[in-house]
Each structure stands twice: as structure tokens, then as C-alpha cells.
């Protein structure tokens, strides 16, 4: 990476694995899991958070010296809420069906702990460029988990990816279905998102044993 120094690149790559916001920092699970029954919704949610966190981090970082520390939470909430309103209006204008699927979960990006957490922990103490990279990195780490969960739930639950059938046709009995494969409708139920995240944590921590809690 010619553009980025080694330290800056680390800001982006760290949250992708060893300091992942969802599986390690346990932030931002609130608005994430309910919408992962479809891959498309997961991707859109990831992009929305990328936008809000990237820009929000820069704004907060630029204002960090003029925000009185007593009212900083309210200032942060106002910044996030304005950005989320933009996302919500754009979605309603260009992807109405999807915004119906996501329903209140777009609004819940405001209280997504990743965003407040990164504002508090990083943007209030670092310059705009670093904060931007940190925002992008954490949002990508969030999106990776969301997409992984969405991938497995949609693939195993309805046999499609992005709405396109990939395992053959369950009605015509082609592809995998011809040898007796069945969709697991249970994967579409909300609790399975939690269990899949639990399994992802399991895999990640058995590969990197330093992360194990006691």
C-alpha cells in the first residue's frame, strides 16, 4: 500500500480479524443480527454503517477540540442521527423494497454501539485522517461478520444467494435437491443468527488461542 504507512494500514486490517468489533469488542450486535436472513440486506447494512462510521468519525474528530466533554454524548448522537437520516432517505428513494425489509433497523444504526464506541475510543483523541481509516476498518470488520452470517443463513435457509438460486430448484428437484437435499427453514428464524455468530467466535478463537477468555 503506497498511500498508507504501515501504521495506518494496521488501523484498517486490525478490526477485520484480531480486533473485530463484533466477535472481540462485542459492539454493534443490536442492529446487526435481525437483518441477516438475506445476503443482500446484510451487504446494504454493511455499506450503510461504513458510510455513517467513516464520515461520523471524521466529523467528530474535526470537532474534538470544541466539544465540551459534558455534552459530548448528545453531540455525538446528533451527528450520527443526521447521517442516518441521510442513509434512510437515500434507501427510501432508491431501494424502497429493501428499506421495508430493513425497517427500523436503519434507524437503529444510531444506537449501534460500534459507532458510539469508536467515537469515544478513537475519534475524540485522533486526527481526521486516522479516524477515517479507523472508521472504515471497523465498519469493514462489522460488514465481514454480517456478510458471513447472511451468506450461511440465506444459503442454508433458502438455497439462494442474493436471491439467485444456487443449489438448484427445490420445486423441479434439480441440482442438490435431486439427491434429497432439503432447505433448512429454521435458518431463517432469528435465533439462528445468534448461534451462527457463536460458531464464528468458536472458529476464530480456536485458530487464535490468545483471544480465549477465562
Amino acid at each position: 500500500m503506497g498511500l498508507l504507512s504501515k501504521k495506518d494500514a494496521k488501523l484498517i486490517t486490525d478490526p477485520l480479524a484480531d480486533n473485530n468489533p463484533i466477535t472481540i469488542q462485542v459492539l454493534g450486535i443490536c442492529s446487526a443480527l435481525a437483518i441477516t436472513a438475506e445476503l443482500k440486506a446484510s451487504v446494504v447494512m454493511g455499506v450503510a454503517v461504513l458510510f455513517v462510521l467513516g464520515i461520523g468519525n471524521v466529523v467528530i474528530s474535526l470537532m474534538r477540540n470544541i466539544i465540551p466533554s459534558k455534552i459530548r454524548i448528545i453531540v455525538q448522537l446528533i451527528v450520527v442521527a443526521s447521517l442516518v437520516i441521510i442513509v434512510d432517505q437515500v434507501l427510501k428513494a432508491y431501494a424502497y423494497e429493501l428499506s421495508k425489509t430493513l425497517s427500523v433497523f436503519v434507524g437503529l444504526i444510531i444506537t449501534n454501539c460500534i459507532i458510539m464506541g469508536r467515537f469515544e475510543a478513537f475519534a475524540l483523541g485522533n486526527g481526521p485522517w486516522k479516524s477515517f481509516l479507523d472508521g472504515i476498518g471497523n465498519a469493514l470488520g462489522y460488514a465481514v461478520i454480517l456478510i458471513a452470517v447472511g451468506f450461511f443463513r440465506e444459503l442454508l435457509g433458502s438455497g439462494t444467494l442474493f436471491g439467485v438460486p444456487v443449489l438448484g430448484d427445490p420445486i423441479e428437484k434439480t441440482g442438490l435437491y435431486s439427491i434429497g437435499y432439503e432447505n433448512n427453514g429454521f435458518m431463517l428464524m432469528p435465533p439462528m443468527a445468534l448461534i451462527i455468530v457463536g460458531l464464528i467466535i468458536w472458529v476464530q478463537r480456536s485458530r487464535n488461542t490468545t483471544l480465549i477468555e477465562d
Binding site: 454524548i73 434507524g107 449501534n112 467466535i201
Partner: protein
């Protein structure tokens, strides 16, 4: 009266904030290591939801909905301020939490000692904003129902965090595989509890109501059912 009872049980069991829509997961996972603290946070959530949901209901009804400004005069009937609802709701919540904290500290120091430390945490708890947003999305009709909705979803959240805290206290003595310890097993246990709560789905409405509210899943399910039916027909033929 009957709709009050129905909404009450529905918000606690069927649309449980944690198990059905994953609201307030961050504090649910972070503060559930001990039963005592979990009870404190749960009580604070009930308290704040009971105040903010009706307040935001009034705000929605008389300010934000399309045509809500009509009480100012007929020429305001076309206004639609609903795009402002996120910012208004979160501002109300943040102010109310601050206010409640000040009032409680002044009048009941003992309550403040047990609840107080949780109140600032709650301003950014997804369950609180989620309560208001779902109240808006589900078009709760009267102020009374809004109060009911706030309290009962709070109780649902309270039950969930109480249960997981009790389970986590016991899990400490079990031999969980090392990489699953802590966070991983909590996720999986919550998922299993969620599956248990799914069984409340048929309690009030025979499942019909649920079908209306989650069109996404229904589509998938109906196509499956259709597929099944088609298969059956083919077998018969």
C-alpha cells in the same frame, strides 16, 4: 381492555426485544455476568421505556406523522415531518435519561445508588430507541397502549437479561470448550433461549399475527410450503 392484555403478553413473550429482534444486545451481553447488576439494569430499562415510549408517541402523533400538524390550522395538513423522527426520538431519549437521573438523584438517593450508574448507559441502548421506533412502525393507537407497550417490552427485556445472568452464573462451573468460553457460549445459549421463546408464537393468535409482521420470512416459508405441496402432488401423480 382485551387489546391491552393482548399487547402486554405479546410484547413480553412473542415480540421479546432480545429474542425476536435483538435489541439491546450490547448491554445484554456486557452486564449479564451477575444477577444483581442484571436486575438493576433491567429495572432501569423498564423505567426509561415506560417514560420515553409514551412521550415519543405524543411527539409522533402531534408533530411528526404525515398530517400531524393539522391542529395548528388546516393549511398545515400537507406537512410530513416523519424524516425527522430519528433525531427527535433520540433527542427526547437523551434528555429524558438525563432528567430522570437528576430527579432520582435529588429525591431518592437509595434508588439512585442502585439504578443511577446504569442510566447513562441506557441513553445509547438500542432497546430504548428500538422501543420508540417499533411503537411508530406498528402504529400503536392510543396513549394508554403506548404506555402499556413501553412497560411490557421493558419487562420482556428484564426477563431475558435476568435469565441469561442466572445461566451465566451457573455456566461458570461447567466445562465449556476453551474457545467458546465467555462470549461464544453466551451467544449460543441466547440462541437456544430464543428458540424456546419462538414456541410462544402461537399463544395468542394461532400464529396469524406473526405472519403479518414478518413478511420476509413468510415469503420464504410459503415458497417452501408451495414446494412441499408441489412435491406431494408429484408423488401422488
Amino acid at each position: 381492555m382485551i387489546e391491552h392484555i393482548e399487547l402486554f403478553f405479546k410484547s413480553i413473550f412473542i415480540d421479546n426485544m432480545v429474542f425476536a429482534v435483538f435489541l439491546g444486545m450490547c448491554s445484554y451481553l456486557a452486564v449479564s455476568k451477575k444477577v444483581a447488576t442484571a436486575v438493576g439494569l433491567g429495572a432501569a430499562v423498564i423505567f426509561v421505556l415506560a417514560i420515553t415510549v409514551p412521550l415519543n408517541w405524543l411527539l409522533d402523533q402531534y408533530l411528526l406523522q404525515p398530517g400531524a400538524l393539522v391542529w395548528l390550522g388546516p393549511e398545515f395538513a400537507d406537512y410530513d415531518l416523519s424524516f425527522l423522527s430519528f433525531i427527535m426520538f433520540i433527542a427526547t431519549i437523551a434528555t429524558m435519561v438525563q432528567l430522570v437521573e437528576i430527579v432520582v438523584e435529588k429525591f431518592s438517593p437509595s434508588l439512585y445508588n442502585s439504578l443511577g450508574i446504569f442510566l447513562p448507559l441506557i441513553a445509547v441502548n438500542c432497546a430504548i430507541l428500538g422501543g420508540s421506533l417499533f411503537m411508530q412502525a406498528r402504529e400503536i393507537e392510543t396513549l394508554g397502549l403506548a404506555v402499556n407497550y413501553g412497560i411490557s417490552s421493558g419487562i420482556g427485556w428484564f426477563l431475558a437479561i435476568l435469565a441469561i445472568a442466572a445461566i451465566r452464573e451457573k455456566i461458570r462451573y461447567s466445562n465449556v470448550p476453551a474457545p467458546l468460553r465467555g462470549l461464544g457460549i453466551t451467544f449460543i445459549v441466547t440462541g437456544l433461549m430464543g428458540i424456546g421463546f419462538l414456541s410462544f408464537g402461537g399463544m395468542l393468535t394461532g400464529g396469524d399475527e406473526e405472519v403479518k409482521e414478518e413478511p420476509k420470512e413468510v415469503v420464504a416459508e410459503t415458497t417452501e410450503i408451495e414446494a412441499e405441496v408441489d412435491n406431494q402432488i408429484k408423488i401422488v401423480n
